[in-house]
Symmetry: C2
Subunit: 121 residues, 2 copies
């Protein structure tokens, strides 16, 4: 399966200042937040439950070292509504989605530490 | 520096079929293509040259293994117009940008092999 197609505008201002367009850091955050939500939804459905809502934000921090700029931290924050899901099972699945979703696996081993804050509403 | 802000719609159809919205794989490709172009532009400018155009596409391949779906390959294809830039220096900088741009560094060590096709027009 090949994907190509997204075209988004970004500029020096939108990356390093406060322009309105997007930037690569936003895109990698959006990719992980979206993938994480989709993966967690599949895991919850696999338990025979039907999540009412899953909302995930990603906060991406850009730092730097001798080589140059680098993304050093991504914090995922997810909020889930789902009747019949126990706190224990929720925590297990939320962690599994962080380990196994394809975008998390793409970033694993790179420069970023990925943190997760998961809340069952 | 923290970034959050991109909100894009995607659905099961846009990810695995042919819906019109975006999907995480497109976003990670767009992030790397954009970051790569910006980084290569900075490297060329550092040589005292002024690139007329840098266009980069990313082709992202989704495969799978025992754990689940994974991004196994990203092909970057870049085309550059720049007066005064030699083929040798161009190849050196094109490769350096692939190694050093922050998004490449985020993906390094993960599931994807990143290939580069670089053409000086």
């Amino acid at each position: 399966m090949n994907f190509t197609g997204y075209q988004g505008a970004f500029t020096f201002a939108s990356r390093f200042e406060s322009g309105e367009e997007t930037n690569p850091e936003e895109l990698v955050g959006a990719a992980q937040a979206g993938c994480y939500s989709m993966f967690l939804s599949a895991l919850i459905s696999g338990e025979g439950l039907n999540p009412e809502s899953i909302e995930t934000d990603a906060f991406v921090s850009l730092g730097g070292d001798d080589i140059g700029p680098k993304i050093d931290n991504i914090k995922l924050s997810t909020k889930v509504k789902c009747e019949g899901l126990s706190e224990e099972k929720f925590n297990e699945l939320a962690q599994a989605a962080k380990e196994k979703c394809p975008i998390s696996r793409l970033y694993a081993g790179g420069t970023a530490a990925v943190e997760l804050e998961a809340e069952l509403l």
